[in-house]
């Protein structure tokens, strides 16, 4: 056997393998492995993916699941709760769905709700919720289920409906000779401008900073600033999501103002600087109830409602929702389990960790369990009162396509000479095709 014969044989084998791989791919790619409508022969195993690995959360979930299995042994034999932690949660979930290994149930944040609901990823829960005895669907806050609904049907349950508020390091404010936000609230002077004035006085540029948004505004713009620009009456796109409004006067005014807080007043740390509120390095931090669990008594702190902006008081909630993946193996059984998982009794159990979207459960007593570090006044004023009227942060059906181009264009603003009036129209130019669908 000579060299050329060997090489030919090798190449033939390689080509055969490649062709085999492609045939395999052809057979498997796009195969959703999804529901075929058949009734399973016996009890099934359900799998819920989530971004939490908190032991307390999982203890409650397992307790609810065990009770469901005991009541429905013919339907479900086991429920597993699979944490996919880290910033790549949506990517990991998408990859599972793409790989034909769709979970039965999945957590989705409000930013991705529109995308998951309107693209048909999630299963219609309305019939199951309506038919489940004692579910009391009317108890759900209208504002809380908006982004989880389409054409009057509900596709996800916002198990966590948590208003944004401002954490205040009272020690830092006092040391900088600044007024207490609660006094400013009482006198009607608790505004974003005043908050930034305080923040600028607190920031020393090296060991402390004045104000910190709920996320890094320079990389996660919607998560960080989405709750703020609503106080300017601004929105990134029209209500139907087809028209870019980043270049609206309100949005330009907001970004111009925020740019000034970084480079003119120094109230906000510049890009790339690292500070931590729980370590006492930040004067004011926009966040939600869950952040209180990381706070001890190293310094005096408070949790107050968001300040007023030019458009007045606009309470905003961030949400974590759970839905049934339509391409899972057993969507109807999963929907039945979800109806049980989120019924009024179990919602009360979940409320030990998450502010519920049910009006009947929005009580100081219920939420004290979720945030034992918060006072009654903080829970009532900053959580309950805001949750009842809060609007949900914006999302978009094409959010995954929009997020990166906006970040890239916004980087031109995050320099001292950045100009909102120039950058905002550039954003619209970059995303207009994605918005139009």
């Amino acid at each position: 056997m000579n060299g050329s014969t060997n090489r030919r044989r090798f190449l033939t084998a390689a080509a055969t393998l490649s062709a085999g791989a492609m045939v395999l791919a052809a057979c498997s790619a796009g195969d959703d492995g999804g529901a075929d409508g058949d009734t399973p022969d016996g009890p099934v195993e359900l799998r819920m993916v989530m971004w939490s690995a908190n032991e307390g959360h999982h203890e409650i979930f397992n307790e609810i699941a065990d009770a469901y299995i005991a009541e429905n042994p013919d339907l479900v034999s086991a429920v597993s709760f699979e944490p996919l932690t880290g910033s790549g949660y949506v990517n990991a979930l998408t990859t599972q769905i793409a790989g034909g290994d769709a979970p039965d149930l999945a957590w989705v944040s409000e930013a991705n709700a529109a995308q998951f609901v309107q693209s048909g990823v999630l299963y219609n829960l309305q019939p199951t919720f309506t038919e489940t005895e004692g579910y009391d669907i009317d108890d759900l806050l209208d504002g809380a289920i908006d982004v989880w609904s389409a054409d009057g049907e509900i596709y996800g349950y916002p198990f966590s409906n948590s208003p944004f508020g401002m954490y205040v390091n009272n020690d830092l404010l006092q040391a900088a000779g600044q007024p207490n936000p609660r006094d400013l609230m009482a006198s009607g002077e608790w505004t974003w401008d005043k908050a930034m004035e305080i923040a600028a006085a607190v920031a020393d540029g090296s060991s402390t900073t004045g104000f910190q948004a709920s996320d890094d505004p320079y990389t996660n713009w919607n998560s960080a600033l989405g709750a703020m620009w609503m106080s300017w009456g601004a929105a990134p796109w029209s209500e139907d999501g087809t028209e870019c409004t980043f270049d609206s006067p309100e949005m330009v005014e907001f970004f111009d103002w925020f740019h000034g807080q970084i480079y003119d007043t120094g109230a906000v740390a510049e890009p790339g600087a690292e500070f931590d509120f729980a370590s006492g390095q930040v004067g004011l931090r926009l966040s939600q109830l869950s952040s209180s669990t990381a706070l001890g008594d190293d310094f005096a702190w408070d949790f107050v409602p968001m300040p007023d902006g030019p458009a007045g008081t606009v309470p905003v909630v961030g949400q974590g929702g759970v839905g049934v993946v339509a391409r899972g193996d057993n969507p109807q059984i999963a929907a039945d389990f979800l109806a049980y998982f989120t019924n009024p009794e179990n919602s009360q159990l979940l409320a030990q960790f998450f502010p519920p979207p049910r009006q009947s459960l929005l009580t100081v007593e219920t939420l004290s369990a979720a945030a034992p570090a918060l006072t009654e006044e903080q829970i009532q004023g900053t959580v309950i009162d805001q949750a009842l009227v809060g609007v949900t942060k914006a999302g978009h059906v094409n959010m995954s396509e929009i997020a990166d181009p906006v970040r890239v264009e916004l980087d031109a603003l995050w320099v001292p000479e950045g100009d909102a009036a120039t950058v905002m129209p550039a954003i619209c130019e970059a995303i207009s095709d994605s918005l139009a669908g």
Binding site: A14, L17, G30, V121, S400, E401, A403, W414
Partner: protein
Amino acid sequence: MGATDREVGRTRWPRTGSSKRLARIDAAVGLSFAAPAVIGVLVLGLVPFGYVIWYSLHDWSPLIGEFNWIGLDNFTRLIADDTVWSSFLTTFKYAALLMVLNITLAMGLAVLLNQKLRGTTTFRAFFFSPVIVSAVAWVLVWNYLVAANGGINGALATIGIQGPNWLRDPTWALVTVVVIQVFKGVGMNMILFLASLQNVPAELKEAARIDGASPARVFRSVTLPLISPTILLVVMITTIGAMDVFVPIQILTQGGPGRSTTVISYLLYRTAFEQQDFGYASAIGVVLFVVVLVLAALQWNSRKRWVHDEV
């Protein structure tokens, strides 16, 4: 039975039944040793690559479950996509800078550590230790050091220098990532060079010196040619490694500011897993494969011109 015996048996002696049997046993033993690696390459390399080619010919939106044949449309789109080409350009810049810094530093360190000086073992361990540190842990620590208010700028401030915003300044961001990666990987190349330097026969260098060559001339005309096979190896593995850099970009810059650090593998990741455009991302992957293959082939073929003992 040694290789020489087999060669003799094949070329000079007619095969007997016994020698054929032994040859078959030899071949079977050889294949059994190679099998795990070959199977690994086939299963984890060739088969997935077949999938990627297949996917690249489709419009695949996993969330809505669409998988439609579109032929070469993804490649047509790719040709007109400025973002892809600017990402390739960024990748080439990254690879070129990394290679120059890494190989120069590795060679310099290897030459220094090849001297019979006190403490060389300690320095060797010092420079090699980052190689065995987890890539993510290494980058996370550097993330804090190069923060605008991090350790490096803090140290510079003590001597009156205001350091740049390393990861947020488009001028510095890519350079900063390269330097962090050079420190991470230089130890491996240093060890490869050091091993090669220690194999250079002392008598050749001694002969050159007796002929009146300066130390620099000895290094250029004797040492460098003799270690050129190692240089080829290092250039090839450093280039291929640089072309698929991902971890430091994902952790340190997320491709920013702007797109100044968006290398092609990061663009591929974003396209596939964030924008859920798996078909187009696969097309980018196929093109990246071809580019790396061509680069490796060019380097391999260039060996005849500069690598010692290659004809």
